[in-house]
Symmetry: C2
Subunit: 245 residues, 2 copies
DNA sequence: ATGAGGCTCCGTACAGTGTTCGGAGTCGCC
DNA sequence: GGCGACTCCGAACACTGTACGGAGCCTCAT
């Protein structure tokens, strides 16, 4: 049997054909246009036909540059990860400051592209992408510089990233729903109140919680919540995994 | 204007029409069949027509019980959350043991239904579902019993849940990709090696990491990784948010 | 008994989807 | 000049979510 049959269906596991001329469409253009479409109209609105129209191209012209829609999404995911600030070693404030900055940049990036969290759960090989690889290596380096063993650094990174992705998933879900409603956050929460109160009936703690949240600035409270949770995670990582913890 | 126009597009914000007789189709049956279909064939394979066929019903018969596919997914998500072990107050081992058990049950549940992580990013109002409400209330109670204020309990719960969802997202992505490939985990990782080595080229830490992971039992290492990360998160929550921490 | 109204179920239809295939055009190279 | 490789695309296929209108049935007021 041929040795190179396509057994690993990921963009990152396939040699790219070299092209010599400069064709009208390029993979970079396609990915960039897809990203723009996703940001402006959401995941459900991304179709190959619309994408082609954005590029003044036919619907099926993309298939010479991208195997299929799933792999296009893999590419776009890596493109998004390219926007995350890569943490630098040698930060005088230590690994905690560097990781905090990276985590905050990562959350901001994911929330700038809220559709991405729906894709992450199916992009099983995303970690092979060049931007993700670069980011991963840099985070490992930061932890190692802080004295972590490679295994501990991997564990610590996975924990922090999981937290960031988890928070962003719930926040992105809210943002997406809110955007679809076309209403402002204020109006939205007000209109939601009856349903929330109904859900919290017979649950006293939920009732107190919802009552206490009324009138607060939702945006700021989300930022604070993320920051405090991140402090918790880093505190635990320091205590459980750092060398002198 | 009418006071009850549908401004909040969620199942949980709409009064259910009362039916008196026992019709052929019920919302419970539909949700249950959808869950089965999702578990056996994945998110992409869930279509209203297939679902109808599973229930010996026409394609459009579901629309009398469920507003549309999105709301059906909301219902299924809450159904899944119903499988999570609700933590009990009064655990003599304290809040940490109770929360650990709940988190482990939650991860196991999400991984039993790996398609769910792709839906979580769009189910913005999932927390209004009855099962989610019940679970949330119980977790808040556990933390409060441990001496947390209601705000601290909320913060702690959100942090832990975010971690669990984040870990499960990456694990579910792997599981889904693996299932689609139709290969065993062993064979899969072997076939992936060249692509991984290519991605790790010029990244020494990634190279060491991938090399070290060869031959380990991936399943066990995932379980361990989750457990350790959870310990970190709880450690930090205890230090940062618990009353006497 | 009879009609009215409401509810459940579904066949049809529409607009749109991802992707395959075959053909047309264009370029560099022998 | 001709060949092969590559890029682009129109047509077609099988499928999707769901709006609509009609058919059958049940309950209740008259």
């Amino acid at each position: 049997m041929p040795a190179d049959e396509q057994q690993v269906p990921s963009v990152w596991a396939r040699p790219r054909p070299q092209r010599r001329d400069q064709p009208a469409l390029s993979r970079r253009q396609i990915v960039s246009a897809a990203l723009h479409l996703l940001d402006t109209e959401g995941l459900a609105a991304l179709s190959m036909r619309k994408l082609g129209a954005c590029l003044n191209a036919g619907a099926t012209s993309m298939y010479t540059h991208v195997a299929n829609k799933d792999e296009l999404l893999e590419l776009v995911v890596d493109e998004v990860y390219g926007e995350v600030d890569v943490p630098a070693t040698g930060d005088p404030a230590g690994w905690r400051a560097a990781v905090t900055g990276c985590a905050q940049s990562m959350r901001a990036t994911l929330l700038r592209h809220p559709w991405i969290v729906s894709v992450l759960g199916e992009a099983g090989l995303a970690y092979l992408g060049p931007n993700v690889s670069r980011l991963t290596e840099a985070m490992l380096a930061v932890f190692e510089e802080g004295g972590f063993s490679l295994q501990a650094a991997d564990q610590a990174m996975n924990t922090v990233v999981a937290y960031v992705v988890g928070v962003s998933t719930s926040e992105a879900a809210t943002l997406t729903t809110l955007a679809r409603s076309g209403q402002g956050e204020q109006e939205w929460t007000e209109r939601l109140l009856p349903a929330a109160e109904e859900a919290a009936r017979s649950y006293p703690r939920l009732r107190r919680l919802y009552a206490g949240q009324r009138g607060r600035q939702v945006r700021d409270s989300r930022d604070d919540g993320f920051r405090i949770g991140l402090e918790c995670v880093l505190e635990g990582v320091a205590a459980r995994l750092a060398p002198s913890g």
